[in-house]
């Protein structure tokens, strides 16, 4: 792994989804929800950015702006239509297995086998990454305890846990494998302030003590401001701004008060909403 290699390079990446027209029989019987023809949605529109090793890089954007698609592209779960993505110099398509070994992901939905306990789910996840049962059990207990999951819940079915607790187990699953590139897709959604703070501390620890690089999407502007070294703002699949939090704030400053990241977000992604509303009027 070369020291001067970027942790993540996203170069001119394009991803579109095609929605087919409903079949004729469905349209004739009125069973189709839409009569429209073939539709193409451009989820990621020629996006480029670079994340340096050890950096926490935030991606902000409104719902449907392409943040999760971008994370899935890096996570090898989607294949880009064009462009290149490299993780520590490894192409996500050509060297998929090498990339998979270096990454892990926490998504907004805590996806688990709901009948299984946190420990059973974590053991499964850890073994997929080559950890032994004993090692996985020991590490799982340590991380779950640290995240404030009660010991009595370790062996209870996940479906009996709250949404916030399930999300903590999801975070534990990703941390367990010590990824050098961690993809966090709205990881703290649904967590209480104390748990959020603990997750923030662990993210920083993972970066500071283990040198992990982090790609973070969030709707929490405070979280982005507190954690991210640099931020890209995504709107309709395109990057509309990219800078440090301080740099972004400077772009919208009007002198009256110090702007927040929320002001930046509203300024850069809210314009279209205003335009549309004005158009409707």
């Amino acid at each position: 792994m070369g020291e001067n290699r970027p942790a993540l390079e996203v170069i001119d990446v394009l991803k579109e989804f095609h929605i087919k027209r409903p079949p004729l029989w469905k349209r004739l019987l009125g069973m189709a929800s839409s009569q429209n023809g073939h539709k193409t949605i451009r989820a990621v529109d020629h996006v480029s950015f670079r994340v340096e090793p050890g950096e926490i890089f935030g991606v902000l954007g409104p719902n449907g702006s392409g943040k999760s698609t971008l994370i899935r592209l890096v996570a090898t779960l989607l294949i880009p239509d064009s462009g290149t993505i490299r993780v520590f110099g490894h192409d996500v398509q050509r060297e998929e297995m090498a990339v998979k070994r270096m990454i892990n992901r926490v998504s907004v939905e805590a996806s688990f086998f709901k009948k299984l306990s946190p420990m059973e789910n974590l053991l499964y996840g850890a073994r997929l990454y080559g950890l032994s049962g004993a090692e996985a059990r020991r590490k799982s207990e340590a991380i779950l305890t640290r995240l404030g999951v009660r010991k009595s819940s370790f062996n209870e079915p996940m479906e009996e846990m709250s949404r916030g607790m399930q999300q903590k187990v999801a975070i534990a699953r990703a941390f367990l494998t010590r990824p050098i590139l961690l993809l966090l897709d709205e990881p703290t959604t649904g967590l209480d302030p104390r748990s959020k703070r603990e997750v923030h501390r662990i993210i920083l620890e993972l970066r500071d003590e283990h040198g992990a690089t982090i790609l973070l999407t969030t709707h929490d502007m405070y979280e982005a401001d507190a954690l991210c070294d640099r931020i890209a703002i995504l709107d309709e699949g395109r990057i509309v701004a990219q800078d440090t939090p301080a740099g972004l704030k400077k772009t919208v400053g009007n002198g009256e008060r110090e702007p927040t990241l929320e002001d930046v977000f509203m300024e850069l992604t809210g314009k279209r909403l205003r335009d549309e509303n004005e158009g409707e009027e």
Binding site: F17, H18, R72, L77, L78, E109, F112, F113, G125, G130
Partner: protein, 276 residues
């Protein structure tokens, strides 16, 4: 080399352990399923017992019929269990929402399949074994002439082909998130119809008899009946063993290739996501 072997065995074991954890957690359903399978097997086998009464003939060899139906029931139970556990591996994960996490992990697809297959074999053997024990309490079995070794060889060969067909069917939920599972059940139902599970293939219409020749279950069932009912020695079972071996060699790599192609298609079109 040793490190790779250790990694691969841990990864493969992850699927086996996870599935047994699921069996343990869904124990109520497993119990219901076991009872259903036992009742189903007994009901079918009692047809053999009642054949003399049904036809009014004294010449019906009831003992032969009972063993004939038992072999059909048990072999089909094992093969269909193998098929279901492999063909539904994607559907389960899609339903649970874990599919992206499993496919994102650094696990070679052959390791994934091998882990799932090992679980399917163990699960199938336990389920079929329990059914066989209960059936043995109801029906008198004369296996004094049986060639057990030959029948095990045939079952193992047939199992390989069924794993291949299961992998082919498991691709369907990747390609058709809404209807893939139903399609897999249709494949299973067709195999049940054409393979001579409860009757000789010869009673089928001519065109279905031709189709039956491409079903591995046909060779497994005929071969096992010859081995167990007639005591045919293993060296005379080549007519069943070789076609099964050939089918396994062809179907397994085809299944793996189709799965890889299906996974790539799903990743290109965004169909891995739960919502499809």
């Amino acid at each position: 080399m040793l490190e790779t072997l250790k990694l691969v065995s841990r990864q493969g074991y992850a699927f086996v352990a996870r599935n047994f954890h699921l069996v343990k957690r869904y124990w109520g359903w497993e119990l219901v399923w076991l009872i259903y399978c036992i009742v189903n097997a007994l009901s079918i086998t009692f047809i053999g017992v009642g054949m003399g009464t049904l036809t009014g003939s004294q010449d019906v060899d009831t003992g032969y019929l009972v063993v004939y139906l038992m072999i059909g029931t048990l072999v089909w139970q094992f093969l269909s269990s193998l098929f279901e556990n492999i063909s539904q591996m994607i559907q389960w994960e899609r339903w649970e929402g874990t599919i992206e996490y499993t496919l994102m992990a650094p696990v070679r697809r052959y390791v994934h399949m091998a882990g799932q297959t090992v679980f399917a074999i163990i699960y199938g053997l336990i389920l079929t074994g329990l059914i066989a024990i209960v059936m043995a309490l109801f029906f008198e079995l004369d296996l004094s002439r049986a060639n057990i070794f030959g029948s095990v060889i045939i079952l193992a060969m047939g199992g390989v082909s069924f794993v291949g067909i299961g992998i082919v069917a498991s691709v369907l939920p990747l390609l058709y998130p809404e209807r893939g599972t139903q399609m897999a059940y249709i494949i299973q139902a067709l195999l049940l119809l054409i393979s001579g599970v409860y009757y000789p293939v010869e009673v089928l219409p001519g065109w279905l008899q031709t189709v039956a020749k491409i079903s591995p279950a046909t060779y497994v069932l005929e071969g096992m009946r010859r081995a167990l009912l007639e005591g045919t020695p293993t060296y005379e079972l080549g007519g069943y063993i070789w076609p099964l071996l050939g089918m396994g060699i062809v179907v397994l790599p085809i299944g793996m290739s189709l799965f890889r192609a299906g996974e790539r298609y799903a990743r290109r079109t965004g169909r891995l996501k739960r919502s499809g």
